[in-house]
């Protein structure tokens, strides 16, 4: 499983491992949050789309021998375009459809992308090159790999960029407006449909980053992101499903908790996924708005 730490190592070490793996969940949770904010839907295909992007990156790097640093931005851009196109073509007809329709359509995408990855690249497990050096550095007696630092850095950077985008750019403001008040926004000349497409594009791009960060740690196969998706759900729910900060905090909390459970509860390796399920249920029961979200009042 993901980043299973050596149980003999100390608490600090476990926490570092936890934060690093939590950053992965956080990055995919950010992708989920972006779509939720745009249209109050959950994209069940988020993980499979990220896997698909990661396979494209893998192909560029192995078949065409491109370097990671050229491949990475290219794949992010490609994923963005793909996400926009997907919204325009597939999601558009059901944009205003009821919740179950939306869920089923994204589950359909889940099937399609999983099948495509398997069809094009096969079910063999591949190694994905890591952009970070392997040697760890020591900080106060705790060994931290560059890999781990890289993961943490990338998700914090993503969060920062998303924050800047939504709070400092006109486009970000238009996206927020069209999510909250689609009709008023339309009256003011915001093209609401395209804002949704933009949300899907951003989300696909963030998912691609997440996939390319996970793949060196876990190995690449068409089911790469399924367990990650579950923990990303957990992270998003824990943080409050519409809050990017919450998603990152949730991801890191989930990562640390998983590392601790893995260390101190015997034979818990197989039960990690159930742990995700239990956390989701508990949070939804006792604090449905999540750790940092605001509760909503419904008028009936």
């Amino acid at each position: 499983m993901l980043l299973s730490a050596n149980p003999l190592e100390g608490l600090e070490q476990q926490i570092v491992f936890g934060i690093a793996s939590g950053s992965i969940y956080a990055s995919l949770a950010l992708a989920l949050v972006l779509i939720y904010r745009a249209m109050e839907a959950i994209n069940f295909a988020q993980g499979e789309m990220a896997t698909f992007s990661t396979f494209i990156a893998w192909m560029l790097m192995t078949t065409f021998q491109w370097s990671f640093w050229i491949t990475f931005p290219l794949v992010v851009v490609l994923s963005f375009v793909g996400g926009v196109a997907l919204e325009r073509v597939v999601i558009r007809p059901v944009e205003r459809a009821p919740i179950l329709t939306m869920i089923l359509v994204t589950l359909g995408l889940f099937s399609i992308f999983n099948g495509l990855s398997g069809l094009i690249w096969g079910y063999t497990i591949r190694t994905f090159p890591s952009p970070f050096p392997v040697s760890p550095i020591s900080l106060g007696g705790v060994a931290i790999g560059f890999q781990d630092l890289g993961l943490i850095g990338v998700s914090l950077l993503l969060l920062f960029l998303i924050y800047l985008f939504f709070s400092r750019t006109k486009l970000g403001l238009m996206m927020r407006a069209s999510a909250l008040y689609p009709q008023s926004s339309r009256l003011l000349g915001v093209r609401v449909g395209w804002m949704l497409a933009l949300g899907w594009g951003l989300s696909a791009a963030v998912g691609a980053v997440s996939g390319m960060m996970v793949a060196p740690v876990l190995s690449l196969d068409p089911n790469l992101m399924q367990s990650v998706l579950l923990f990303a759900f957990t992270a998003a729910v824990l943080g409050g499903i519409e809050n990017p900060f919450g998603a990152v905090i949730g991801g890191i909390v989930v990562g640390v908790l998983l590392a601790l459970v893995g260390t101190y509860v015997p034979h818990a390796e197989d039960l990690r996924l159930v742990f995700g399920f239990i956390v989701i249920v508990l949070v939804l029961l006792f604090r449905p708005a999540g750790l940092v979200g605001r509760a909503h009042v419904t008028r009936v």
Binding site: L230, V274, F277
Partner: protein, 351 residues
């Protein structure tokens, strides 16, 4: 009114008769076995139809209940030497206990949150099975002896073993189908539909949400448990990956394609599985597939109320054409996919 959707007893009897003689004259050995799976799946889809189609609660986690059913049967046969026929009701009951346990937290979840939580259940179920490998045989799974019929029909060569599996599944599916029809025509069915249409209105009219929602989960899980049990008996083998999230999708998609909230929906959904070869492959491999996804999306675009809803609309249109001008007779609509769940709470302050 007589249409495909409001079939009288005659039509049901005809369908049943057709199903009963098909393996004797029409179906080969392998298709017979495939149809035995279809009947098992039909039971699972009836469960989804009760929960989602009538009570309005989404569950992507019914593969976990099928797992409970399948493993109950396999473990009772393999470790306790039970007769497999006796394990089927036990499988259903144990699964419905699981349904009650899920139903309790699900009382407070709606729409997308319920979908997420049950999806998480489906994803994590195989790993739980693997964890308790002392009992479940871990990733290896459990092989059980092929089912022998108690009447000696197979050994006397009156039936092939596939035909025995077929008839057993058909009889159980028919009985459970009748039970669901009967149940849904009582006050329980009315309470489910009231909850589906509006929880607030249902409560205001004295329907206990806690009781009826938990009941819907329990019944749905019972059906899934029996389906899982039959699946195990048909395959003579269970493994953790037989009950993954793909199976949950197959159940939901079948029920939706057939038409939620209609009696005939699950039957159309199950029959559909045979006409779609990739779908059958999913049953055997439980692996998501491209064609499956494309099909699902296309159905959502064109027939959001499923085949039954589509046929009904066509029929209603035809009647309107014929009786243009005359007042419409009281028609009871089928459920659009949309009607089955209330949208998530409105976010942000109201205008």
């Amino acid at each position: 009114m007589h249409s495909l959707l409001k079939p009288g007893p005659a039509l049901w009897l005809f369908l049943l008769l057709l199903a009963a003689i098909a393996p004797l004259y029409v179906l080969g050995r392998f298709p017979t076995l495939e149809w035995a799976y279809v009947w098992a799946l039909l039971i699972g889809m009836i469960g989804i139809n009760i929960l989602t189609g009538y009570c309005g609660q989404i569950s992507l986690g019914n593969s976990a209940f099928m797992a409970i059913g399948g493993y109950t049967t396999a473990i009772l046969i393999y470790r306790a030497g039970w007769n497999y026929l006796l394990t089927i009701p036990v499988a259903g009951v144990l699964a419905s206990v699981g349904g009650v346990l899920l139903g309790i937290p699900a009382l407070r979840l709606r729409g997308i949150y319920l979908a997420t939580a049950t999806f998480a259940l489906a994803i994590s179920a195989p790993s739980v099975i693997r964890h308790f490998d002392q009992l479940s045989g871990g990733s290896q799974g459990i092989s059980i002896p092929p089912a022998e019929d108690p009447f000696g029909l197979v050994s006397s060569q009156s039936l092939t073993s596939e035909q025995w599996l077929y008839y057993m599944a058909l009889v159980i599916a028919a009985a459970l189908f009748l039970f669901s029809r009967a149940l849904l025509s009582t006050h329980v069915g009315r309470a489910f539909r009231a909850i589906r249409e509006s929880e607030t209105a249902a409560v205001a009219n004295g329907v206990s949400l806690a009781y009826y929602k938990t009941l819907a989960f329990a019944i749905s899980a019972f059906y899934a448990g029996v389906a899982g049990s039959l699946y195990a008996i048909n395959t003579a083998y269970v493994s953790p990956d037989s009950f993954n999230v793909g199976l949950s999708l197959a159940l939901v998609v079948g029920a939706v394609i057939g038409g939620l909230g209609t009696g005939i929906g699950p039957i159309l959904g199950a029959a559909f599985t045979v006409w779609s070869p990739t779908y059958t492959q999913i049953l055997f491999n439980t692996k998501p597939d491209i064609a499956f996804g494309v099909l699902l999306i296309l159905v959502m675009y064109t027939m959001p109320s499923g085949i039954a809803g589509g046929v009904y609309r066509l029929w209603a249109w035809y009647r309107r054409q014929r009786a243009a001008g005359r007042p419409k007779s009281g028609e009871e609509g089928t459920v659009q996919v949309g009607k089955v769940a209330s949208p998530p709470e409105v976010s942000g302050p109201g205008p």
